[in-house]
Amino acid sequence: MIKVSMTVNGGAVSHTVEDRTLLVDYIRDHLRLTGTHIGCDTSQCGACVISFNGKAIKSCTMLAAQADGAEIMTIEGLADGDQLHPVQAAFKEHHGLQCGFCTPGMIIAATDMIKRYGAALDEPTIRTELEGNICRCTGYQNIVKSIKAAAEDMTRSEKPSVTSSV
């Protein structure tokens, strides 16, 4: 057994777990944050993607022990109270989901790519960047549309002087 402590969605957590515990199981079973999903469990589908020290990673392919001391954000940490994060709002507005199983991973992946590309995030880039996230409802069209809209929204709000002068 090993003691792991980390910051999850802004709050400190600490538990004693088996050394072999996967981070995704720690998040779901110990922290009861079940928004992070287990889809394939073979590192391909991306339903388990979370933000780990500011970078999107697959939490089914990391031990909880490896995350000791880290800062983690899951889908539950994205909204500001009742105020949806712009990416969540865009998925809602543009119908970026059907069954919703892949959505938490899609949204974390989207926030990660928007952070890296900013206003330069175009549609081909979004499609390439989504290669680690699988949607079996084949709803990619609206997922891409949602991410594009969120990127435009977020990069516009980063430069308020531009919009206010128009």
Binding site: E18, A65, E131
Partner: protein
């Protein structure tokens, strides 16, 4: 993975010490191969030694004739590094197409090279760029490093610290990725070195892992153009044949990828 002990050393010495004192330890770099392998019960180490907190494995640096990358540097870091993109853009390009963005945030150069998966991308660059592999105990030339599928010259408990890539005059990598896994079905790295020599390494296709293709090297030495490869016939007798593609299919892919790599440089 039933009984596992996790260790987190902060120095190379401590990592080796943990390894020596364990019954059946595995070094854990980014874990993007090791953890899936453990989940499938294809590996069952008694101990894992996490290498992500060892400062000596971090960092990218360059000297006059080589680019030096720490074994713990992730694919995402190599792909985004302004230094790599300027000095060795072909390597940044290769790193940017490994797996997917989330895998690239964890997977490392050292982990990929030490594992020597026959379909991994980095081994082709290591071989074609005449790299030297610096371990905790010695320096190994690329030519002597890859000894077969998932086999390398590394001894038990020997740890890659960094890899020095020779800076070429020009280089390019082209791969045909498996559409599901993004591993190479065939990947070809071509480098023309400052002494005029040409090295061409093939990954994803060989049944003994990465290999150099001397006939294509000679053809390119005579005529540095994609057309020089048109009449080369690729022997398929030692190529992989599986559900993803036959040996003959891979033989053709090798030639097509080599030509694409050449076209991208000209």
């Amino acid at each position: 993975m039933f009984h596992l002990t996790y260790h987190r050393p902060t120095s190379v010495e401590d990592a080796i010490q943990f390894f020596t004192n364990s019954e059946d330890a595995q070094f854990l770099a980014g874990g993007q191969t090791l953890l899936p392998t453990m989940k499938q019960r294809l590996a069952d180490p008694s101990d894992v030694i996490d290498l992500r907190h060892i400062a000596a494995l971090a960092g990218i640096g360059s000297a006059k004739d080589h680019l030096s990358i720490g074994a713990g540097v992730t694919h995402a870091e190599v792909a985004a590094s302004p230094q790599v993109r300027q000095i060795l853009p072909a390597l940044a390009d290769l790193a940017s197409h490994i797996g997917d963005p989330h895998v690239r945030n964890m997977g490392t150069l050292g982990g990929s090279v030490a594992n020597n998966d026959p379909a991994a991308d980095y081994p082709a660059a290591v071989l074609a760029l005449d790299a030297t592999i610096h371990t905790n105990s010695r320096v190994i030339a690329a030519e002597d490093f890859f000894t077969g599928m998932f086999e390398t010259a590394l001894q038990d408990g020997e740890l890659i610290i960094r890899i020095d890539f020779r800076i070429p005059q020009i280089a390019a990598y082209a791969k045909f990725p498996n559409p599901a896994s993004r591993y190479a079905m065939a990947g070809v790295f071509i480098a023309r070195h400052t002494d005029g020599g040409v090295k061409l390494a093939v990954t994803g296709a060989g049944s003994d892992g990465v290999f150099r293709h001397k006939d294509m090297e000679s053809a390119l030495l005579g005529n540095w153009a994609a057309e020089a490869l048109a009449d080369i016939s690729i022997d398929d007798s030692n190529l992989l044949s599986d559900i993803h593609g036959s040996a003959a299919y891979r033989a053709n892919l090798i030639k097509v990828m080599a030509q694409r790599a050449m076209q991208s440089m000209l």
